[in-house]
Symmetry: C2
Subunit: 414 residues, 2 copies
């Protein structure tokens, strides 16, 4: 039996046990995780320093090293995140609906855990604890496969969680860590059918693409966001500029940041100079198509590739459209079905945009940056689904569950 | 561009249009399908006769030929099925929930169509119309890939539907048929990423396995059912025998039929002879493990393989268990997570069975044969999902939809 089969078997056994535990004891375990993490600050920082030194030796860029770093403050924030998950409502056991069929059977649709969840992620060690807390609270066992840069940090974090699980009478195997970080083993992990009920990749577009191409277990596709702000003919210029600046510059590296600005021709002459002025302090590079360029001072010429690209940087593609129809068509062609926004005071334009744009989240008069589990009120998120099956948009605890029909009879036959 | 890309493009365009049409006009179109099918009886039967002659030439078995056959009566029943779908509630446009977040955004979760659905199925031509009606009513475009035995029947049926669509102002491409029935093209169909939002196989275990292994588009796994009836120590013997006989013999070829009987040792001596007597008129072959065999007259010895097999025939594997725990363990090991039943008057035994057995539908004191969209009250079904993501159990119109977050702001930024 391979190491992966072993992990899979243990996870399955833990999942069976976990599925039957009540909310109160799961919460107690989570509060114990939080306490254990705070108690282990020193060991965690020591383990993290091993990763940091290696990263520096390997000449990893400063922002990447910062993402990797654990400090006392960051550990406190991770522990606080765990307590927040403990305080979320437990979706498990709720019956979404119950009815009596023609034969007199009482049929209920009950929320149950998915079972065993695999997570593949990249450098940030806080994902280890965030993902474990959400999967645990929703009654699932998890197998974590983190990036090799954070290996020692992740291992130390998982050990703390496993110890804390045992202390509260839970199977330590509810949270497992794949210690072999080779690409070959990652590939086998993506094909661990029979053990993994779902695999969720968290990270770059490249990681997600690799998982989609290689996985034979069910996958939830997350994250890639080529998001648009469309300033309609009836847009309030000031509001549209505010929203655009927020969506582009407040955190350009995330999936819900805007990448393209579409402007209706009727307001282009007023709006585009205003946008250029407001973006100047952030040194945003504008890649403008011809009709937009005439209203700008500093820009480069946009190519088709620019409209297809998730820049994740201080770059914005800009295009003038002749109509709402053209805006919708452009978005449905180039968008990644993540988050899209119209700015308009025209009721019918907003309604049409929301109906006809195909995306997980479609905004009228707000920044795309709100597409986020916490912002939506789910408390936390495991990722943002850009697929249509199972879950679409920010995924919280609810999206980590499935249902089971429970049927009560009195001897009925068909 | 390949024929498949062409089909995909047309389907996508049709899906965009379909998603915006109201319930009333979709229903009108469906009533027109029904009328058109009745009007075309003669052409349909003629086309079907081509398939039937070929099947006879090729020495296809009589039951298969019967499944393939279209008669006036069967066409009437297919047309009636379409009218029933028209009368079902339309899930599209409903908002499952709406709330205001901390920033004051109103966030709603709206039901929308999945988009383009692919269906791969085998011989019965009625599936062509059933599947088309359900996907159409839920606002999706469909690409159908039927078996080559029913080629002429399917083509004739789809032509009738397309003509009827055009007459009511809908794009004929809302229902398309893959005319190339080669295995090679089927494989490419399973990898039509970018066009197919989901692929649903309907048919034998082998077909489903092929789809799971080859598809790169999202798949909903359906149908395989190795279902158990567990007669508990506290079972009413007569009720348990009724349920077992119904679950085994009322239609052995379907996925919700029982394949294994588990009997608690405390009632084995009374129950098993009764079961043998009641099954005798149906000539059910009993494959009994040792402890069960001692209470039976006619049986063959069960091997482990018998407990793993979905017989879909008048064969029943039989095993005596020492406890409820052993029954649950056996089911969770050998079952396919489809439908499982306990017969017991013990409240706690029923509760434990329902909590701990991992399956789409878990029954107390009723036959597993009820796992069916119509029986559950969904009106019709596109298949029975045995996976945990997106849909579990019978899938009706609701399961052919996804959601879109619609967000209403007043200029909010984050």
């Amino acid at each position: 039996m391979t190491q992966l089969d072993e992990l899979g078997k243990k996870a399955k056994r833990a999942a069976q046990e976990l599925a039957l535990r009540d909310t109160h004891s799961k919460n107690e375990a989570l509060f114990n995780w939080s306490k254990a993490l705070l108690d282990a600050k020193k060991e965690l920082i020591d383990a993290n320093q091993v990763d940091i030194s290696k990263a520096k030796e390997n000449g990893i860029a400063e922002p990447m090293i910062d993402r990797l770093l654990l400090t006392e403050e960051r550990i406190e924030s991770i522990a606080a995140g765990v307590r927040e998950v403990a305080e979320l409502a437990d979706p498990i056991g709720a019956v979404d609906g119950m009815w009596v069929n023609e034969a007199g059977l009482t049929i209920g649709k009950k929320r149950v855990p998915l079972g065993v969840i695999g997570i593949i992620y990249e450098s940030r060690p806080n994902v280890t604890v965030d993902a474990a807390a959400l999967t645990f609270k929703s009654g699932n066992a998890v197998i974590l496969r983190g990036g090799k840069e954070a290996f020692h940090s992740n291992l130390a974090l998982v050990k703390v969680l496993q110890q804390a699980l045992s202390e509260t009478g839970f199977p330590a195997d509810a949270v497992q860590f794949l210690e072999d970080t080779s690409h070959e083993t990652a590939r086998k992990f993506m094909q661990l059918n029979g053990y993994l009920d779902v695999l969720i990749p968290r990270g770059s577009g490249r990681l997600i693409q690799t998982v989609l191409e290689n996985a034979t277990v069910p996958v939830i596709e997350t994250g890639v966001g080529n998001c648009h702000i469309y300033a309609d003919a009836a847009a309030d210029i000031d509001m549209a500029a505010n929203i655009l600046v927020n969506a582009k510059t407040s955190r350009p590296s995330v999936c819900n940041a805007a990448e393209t600005l579409l402007v209706h021709k009727a307001i282009a002459a007023d709006f585009l100079p205003e946008v250029e002025k407001r973006l100047a302090p952030f040194s945003v590079e504008l890649r403008a198509e011809e009709k937009a360029a005439q209203f700008l001072k500093n820009y480069t010429e946009a190519t088709e590739a620019d409209f297809e690209t998730e820049f994740l940087d201080f770059i914005l593609a800009v295009k003038v459209v002749d109509s709402l129809d053209e805006a919708i068509e452009h978005i449905n062609r180039y968008g990644t079905k993540h988050s899209e926004a119209i700015v308009s005071s025209d009721y019918f334009a907003g309604k049409r945009f929301q109906n006809e744009v195909d995306a997980a989240a479609v905004y009228i008069n707000a920044s795309t940056r709100f597409t986020d589990g916490s912002e939506f009120g789910f408390g936390a998120e495991i990722g943002i689904s850009t697929q249509k099956l199972h879950a679409r948009g920010p995924m919280g605890l609810h999206e980590l569950t499935t249902t089971k029909y429970i049927i009560f009879g009195e001897g009925q036959i068909r």
